[in-house]
Symmetry: D2
Subunit: 216 residues, 4 copies
């Protein structure tokens, strides 16, 4: 056996330095999982709070995550643009985060659903994306917000045009607020997404997390 | 917002067609996790059986996994060389597998440790590697076997020379058996690793899993 | 200035070990270049011989190239599957080969076209592809042969059905011959492509190149 | 033959959008090439002018190159950060540029060295690197400037300390000028590198190239 030879088949994709790393996780087959567990439509408050609680745990354990945004069955974690977590190896970062999130989700389930026992195990896919500027990062967050809300509302029965107009208003204001705040001072983010949740570190007290869970 | 623009920052690393995909997961900080939970040294039978049970679940849920090999806090899953799981996108494959494994690990914990409650959540990192031939794949498995056993025994107090000679014998026989069997008929793998566990599909009955848990 | 920081933006894509590396180069805008220089249709013998002569030079300078196949304005160079040329870094391999080919093409031009002076400089794009088995490599060569000939003949006025039937015959025989010979003994390749040229090393005398230029 | 299957082995590494693409080419074995052709040490004016002339041709043919910087046997070409040249496919960009440069170098040789005939063909390697901000790009250029000059002078006999102090002065001024000008108005770059050459587009007249060839 030649360990060095065998190891050299591992290709390491290191994420570009000095860019914002976003790790997005998304529930696998959550259409079925939500149905099996009788989640309320379009948003089940307990289910969302469980997601948020797991996200808070991730920010507590990984100091390089500076912000997280969740909506529907997905959560995006934004790492500091100078983060050197796992030397920026994509598969390590993505796998560790998605794995910890999954563990937490199962562990905390009873806390949010004391009466329910799930049949099939919940699990998530994950990916990393880099964005080279905070303007594009802001657009990314607005995109996840808009498109996920859009489909969630449409699937739950609201007409497409109704959804479009109800979301339109929130778009510009949010983008402006995000621009004003995230790019300039991302440690303190009083953004208000009409739907979706944001987790960020407290400005004064780096160890406290603030959760903005604003489901309408 | 320009979804197509934002999506195009996603780079998709697709794993080379017609090669064996190995997904290896490994417990994060398991030195601490094993200690915190009072696992026996060097191998805690209950802990290994929990790992094996999770691996069996993965083979049940992902039909493209043809074989799995676990030792210490790691498990390697081998996908069929013609698998098109998630169109061979590395991050989807790795994240889904590591996430499901983590979920199962927490869910099944009580079954194997009815009396214990873990303090910190267990989680795993994951990666994918491709091997272009079954000879190299066999060497990979032998490597994981050898090196992991080596360090496990050394850390638990056995002297390096003792470990080397005790492992030496198993090496050649295994390699020959693996070569004879895996490369020719990987659906039926009566390999016997002296340490470590192997999970593979039953030759006759594709739906049954056979677990060879052979801790010495 | 922090050289290490700046250098770390370089990502190195190393080509998978133990696979066949193919570098394919293709003339940029050769539709125009061939016209500008009054090449005969569909194949200009002098032009093809110039291409072949450059290919022979590449095999002389890069010992890791074991075989080359050219048709129309493109040439594919196959590297030994265990080649460690430039540590298998894709951009170094591709750039060095395409650069040397381009230099040779301009240098040798006068030899093949003593009377002509080109207006615009000829140049080529290049890429690398890895193939994990010699069967797939053989299919690759058959593909380049077939598809390039197909379009060359169609563009020069032959009807599609005529081309299809004239190429059909050559296909199976070639594939069988390639299979029989390339996979088993790629050092001696007496393949006869009806169109297209092959360059390979002489079996007995590693330093001599044999060129099979078989334009019909 | 299954073209789609064979084509799918091609992996396309697309360079991250909205980042500065730098293509750097470097003469292969130019230690030998310079010696063989009796170039003057440390800088042969004719040789540098040949390099510069080729660089100017590249800017003329590829409108997305906004700036080029050359020193010793290397040249760096900076593409507009929003360039979509070859859909930002790394191997196409690098190969086309290095190929065209090589062709030009051979074509123009006689113009700069009417009396000389080279023995071995000149060729270049090439690579691409992305930088996410113009500050880092500026540091990149300063790095290439500094390190290449450093070694060139040392190899030609100047003592290391002498070189260090002679280069020190130029460093800060250049960096400030580059910062002031390149980041703000990269279309008009009156930078003066003490050694090395810069090519950039004329501010007023996009079609004229300005060459600052400032060998001391
Ligand atoms: N009832 C209910 N359903 C929800 C809630 N949050 C998410 N979902 C459902 C709605 C969608 O069908 C699904 C999320 O859409 P996806 O595009 O992620 O699809 P899904 O997870 O089924 O498939 P995937 O494995 O991600 O491709 O989850 C909720 O709070 N309540
Ligand atoms: N007591 C005990 N320890 C075990 C058992 N299986 C694995 N371990 C421990 C021994 C090693 O310290 C550790 C595995 O080594 P690793 O190289 O994976 O290190 P660790 O997981 O601590 O760090 P990592 O996050 O993977 O870099 O797990 C077991 O059955 N019993
Ligand atoms: N007259 C003539 N034309 C040839 C000969 N060999 C190749 N060509 C021309 C025919 C095709 O138009 C062209 C090769 O097709 P390609 O698909 O490579 O197109 P082209 O090089 O124009 O564009 P590209 O930059 O590769 O995308 O070169 C030849 O021997 N004689
Ligand atoms: N005499 C002379 N030599 C020069 C001139 N410009 C560059 N050179 C030589 C000095 C160096 O030995 C060489 C450039 O250094 P490199 O690090 O690029 O090494 P070289 O090209 O030999 O090897 P490589 O293939 O790039 O790894 O070219 C010049 O104007 N005059
Ligand atoms: O990128 P994918 O395959 O997950 O495609 P999707 O699920 O349609 O889109 P997304 O997960 O990006 O919302
Ligand atoms: O590859 P890494 O960083 O996980 O390094 P390691 O933990 O020393 O090695 P391995 O996990 O491959 O046993
Ligand atoms: O891959 P590309 O972009 O060069 O596409 P093509 O020129 O149509 O195809 P090919 O060069 O592979 O024949
Ligand atoms: O990156 P390489 O291998 O070309 O290494 P180098 O030639 O030492 O360095 P550089 O070409 O980046 O100056
Ligand atoms: Mg998805
Ligand atoms: Mg989902
Ligand atoms: Mg979703
Ligand atoms: Mg590890
Ligand atoms: Mg571990
Ligand atoms: Mg381990
Ligand atoms: Mg092409
Ligand atoms: Mg062409
Ligand atoms: Mg062509
Ligand atoms: Mg170099
Ligand atoms: Mg050089
Ligand atoms: Mg150099």
């Amino acid at each position: 056996i030649k360990p060095e030879y065998l190891r050299s088949f591992q290709f390491e994709s290191r994420l570009m330095l000095s860019t914002w790393i976003v790790v997005r996780i998304d529930g696998c087959h959550f259409h079925r999982f939500c149905e099996d567990n009788g989640f309320q439509k379009p948003n089940d408050e307990q289910a969302l709070e469980l997601m948020n609680s797991c996200a808070v745990s991730l920010l507590e354990m990984f100091k390089d995550i500076i912000f997280a945004y969740g909506v529907s069955d997905e959560y995006s974690f934004v790492l500091n643009k100078d983060s050197l977590l796992y030397q920026r190896q994509s598969s390590k970062i993505v796998s560790a985060l998605v794995s910890l999130f999954s563990s937490m989700y199962v562990m905390k389930w009873k806390e949010f659903f004391p009466e329910k026992e799930f049949k099939e195990p919940p699990y998530f896919d994950g990916r990393s994306v880099c964005y080279p500027s905070c303007e594009i990062l802001r657009d990314y967050l607005a995109w996840r917000h808009y498109s996920t809300c859009f489909w969630l509302l449409v699937k739950s029965g609201t007409s497409k045009t109704e959804v479009q107009s109800s979301l339109k208003g929130t778009q510009t204001r949010e983008k402006n607020e995000l621009l004003a705040q995230f790019c300039i001072d991302y440690n303190a983010l009083p953004i208000i997404f009409r739907m979706g949740s944001s987790v960020f570190r407290d400005k004064m007290n780096q160890h406290e997390m603030t959760l903005l869970n604003t489901v309408t």
